[in-house]
Symmetry: C2
Subunit: 460 residues, 2 copies
């Protein structure tokens, strides 16, 4: 029975066409199921199985064929995962999934930037099979190589689940905003940080207290560094940058600062000034230079990002024709991540290939890195100072000498902390280097009794 | 020179493969441009030309080929449209675009549910060429037929621009949310209405005053009925329903109420109660019944839709795995609409076909219509009554007898209007039929001096 080629999508000279097997359903009709090899049966992998079970009929209608798991790989075969895994072929080495005759597409839900996930990803693409992954760490480090391998074989590399969970932002940038020159793409990309900041604000708790509570409840990892130090958001941002600006992925070029140093007093002062503190991941392209940064930021209450609460994620893309596009939703968890992975499987089943980073890898530009010191914007500064005459004059002189002018200033009348009083300032728009210089001079003063705090304002 | 097939995307037995012409660029390389026939050079059509000019290089990288207009059709050849149209072949009858050898894909930007737009759409698909359209009215009435024709020929029918302008919601539902059973899809789909309501609230103006001002400024049509009576939103909602629920388009099944009767006093009372009035288009599917409605609605201030201001649009989709997805952005205008149209052209250039309504038309279900009388929710009621003893007892008795219980009630102490005083109530969740019955009885009372106002609360 000769079937029309599928899965190869847009055949061009020199590309491989993947032929899926014909099978008969109960009515005796020829159907071609898309057969999935699933590596990893943790929260995400089990979520994929649960979703494919729950919505099998619907998915078959939308994909115009069945999508079903045939083979799996995971560490502990006996563990109860809340889904029936006995019906699947089980392989001990995930890499075997790539070579199996009954696997048309591999879902990598193992995690980790290197190691087994990467070995499997390479083997899958080398075998000319589509790869679906939620692994932002792997893509941030090896995404270009993997995309190039996928191109050579003419198969899709799909990763909607790698950024912002169930929110279709990869599709939104790759397809929906494809006609636009994007000036900026930014958002809230780490649900754990946003959950912590939201609770710190709502309940007046410290970072440490909320983190400990979130760890007890299972919302935060035992080793929270990837999340709270901004690494996870930086992985995701590097993928959005590539998509948005047609740039080669440059994870190492992301300036990263996490939320460990965000204090309740800053959240309070920000609120007084009309802002909310969020961990913002932001990339922009200007004159061929790529600016990428993850940092706690004062977001004006009038900005939609200020209202993204709890574990939600959101992404803003600014197009020269579309204007400001805003996407929000659940950024993590079994359901949303599975939703994105299966959306990718449906795309694969429909035969939609297209380039992983919105254009062939050969067309992606190696952009220079913008110097963050050149960044121009407004800044929030908090200084802890001795409560004695002349201190304010000393601080403002340091700012004046560095060319930094002050838009607003809050000084509490009496000692707010043992170490002294707070002086909080918002600058006018100024080069970051000037602020850094002023802060260095202030930090050296006897009157300044704690490390100065500096945060960016989201000014657009 | 034999080239690999493109544009037909996912070839299956019996489908047509579209072969695009090979051309040489200045360097002598073989390139295959996607050649666009553009019907209509109004705001939208001229926007498409402007975008393709402005971002030509970027689009070529993203589509991996040029996308350029070769032929156009519009009424007045001499009119200055702010873009150079002299370089295009010009045809008087738009239908001719479908048959031209130098046109691979037709963009229909003529408008109107029938007439020349429909003739062109049919001719284009009959010729086995992809069709891109922003025409929600045409799709609401003829979308299924057109999608079926596209399927027969194996060519795409694309309409991202038809709903919510530059926001990629068609892609978001068709692809991004494809793995989900969607319970509800709803949003703000008409920018003119949202602009009017936003200004009514912010400036305390009447509907008529804002509409007249918007007409003078060109933001509203001379004949504003399609917008302010909710027809345009209903067109769009019927398309979202088909996508979200795998349902056959049922525009005639949309219950429609516009914003002409929204009064400043209701906006004020809503604010007092913690709500903002928006024209909400809402569809849900429950037990095989499709509920579709466009109506002014009280949206809680905690809901993201409440913060969609001015001419912006927004769409919410609730998936069983993804959770609540929220998209917002510019819903109309030359730039955003052109952004969506050219995104579709890039999809066509990439060879991505896929079914127009997320599944083959034969798989779309003809769902029964839910009876709006069965809708259960909370209601806002405003009665204008004579200021005399016993009136409140009369009103509350009518509600009690109909089984409607009251959650909150506002009665102003003194006569607020010549005709009497306002009594404003919010009901507990109740069947709509009960509220309608109670209102009918109240309206018949001598004490009720104006038509009672009833609006839905957005309760989720």
């Amino acid at each position: 029975m000769a079937l029309a080629p599928q899965g190869g999508g847009q055949p061009r000279a020199g590309t491989t066409i993947v032929n899926f097997r014909a099978e008969s359903n109960r009515a005796g009709e020829i159907v071609t199921a898309l057969r999935v090899g699933l590596a990893g049966l943790g929260t995400v992998g089990a979520g994929v199985v649960a979703l494919l079970d729950a919505n099998a009929g619907l998915i078959e209608r939308r994909a115009d064929r069945q999508v079903r798991v045939t083979a799996v790989s995971a560490r502990d075969r006996g563990r109860d995962r809340g889904v029936d895994t006995a019906r699947f072929a089980w392989v001990d080495d995930a890499t075997e999934l790539a070579g199996r005759d009954d696997v048309d597409v591999v879902v990598e839900a193992v995690g980790g930037s290197d190691g087994p996930a990467l070995v499997l990803a390479r083997a899958t693409l080398a075998a000319g099979k589509p790869l679906v992954t939620a692994n932002k760490a792997m893509l941030a480090h090896h995404g270009l190589d993997l995309a190039a391998s996928a191109e050579v074989k003419g198969v899709p590399l799909k990763y909607e689940a790698a950024v912002a969970g169930g929110i279709p932002v990869i599709g939104g940038l790759r397809d929906g905003a494809a006609a636009n020159r994007l000036g900026r793409v930014y958002g809230i990309l780490n649900g754990t940080c946003n959950y912590i900041l939201t609770r710190m604000e709502a309940e007046g708790l410290s970072f440490a207290a909320v983190l400990a509570d979130a760890q007890r409840a299972g919302f935060a990892e035992a080793d929270p560094g990837f999340d709270v130090d901004g690494i996870d958001a930086a992985h995701k941002l590097s993928l959005l940058s590539a998509l948005a600006f047609g740039a080669r992925i440059d994870f190492a070029g992301v300036a990263v600062e996490g939320i460990r140093d965000v204090a309740g007093v800053d959240i309070d002062h920000a609120a007084t000034l009309g802002f909310r503190i969020k961990l913002v991941a932001l990339a922009s392209e200007d004159g061929g230079r790529l600016f990428q940064r993850v940092h706690p930021c004062l977001v004006p209450l009038a900005h939609p990002l200020a209202h993204v609460a709890g574990a939600l994620n959101a992404v803003v893309a600014e197009g020269d024709f579309a204007g400001r596009l805003f996407f929000s939703g659940a950024g993590a968890g079994a359901g949303p991540t599975a939703s994105a992975i299966v959306a990718d499987l449906i795309d694969v089943a429909r035969g939609e290939v297209g380039p992983a980073f919105a254009m062939p890898t050969s067309r992606l530009a190696a952009l220079d890195r913008a110097d963050t010191a050149d960044h121009v914007g407004r800044f929030y500064l908090r200084l802890t100072v001795t409560d004695r005459p002349g201190v304010l004059a000393e601080l403002t002189a340091a700012l004046r000498d560095a060319g930094v002018s002050i838009e607003s200033l809050i000084q509490r009348g009496t000692a707010a902390v043992d170490a002294g009083v707070y002086v909080v300032m918002v600058t006018h728009a100024v080069r970051e280097a000037a602020v850094t210089a002023a802060l260095a001079r202030m930090a050296a003063s006897d009157a300044v009794t704690a490390r100065p705090v500096m945060m960016h304002l989201l000014d657009f």
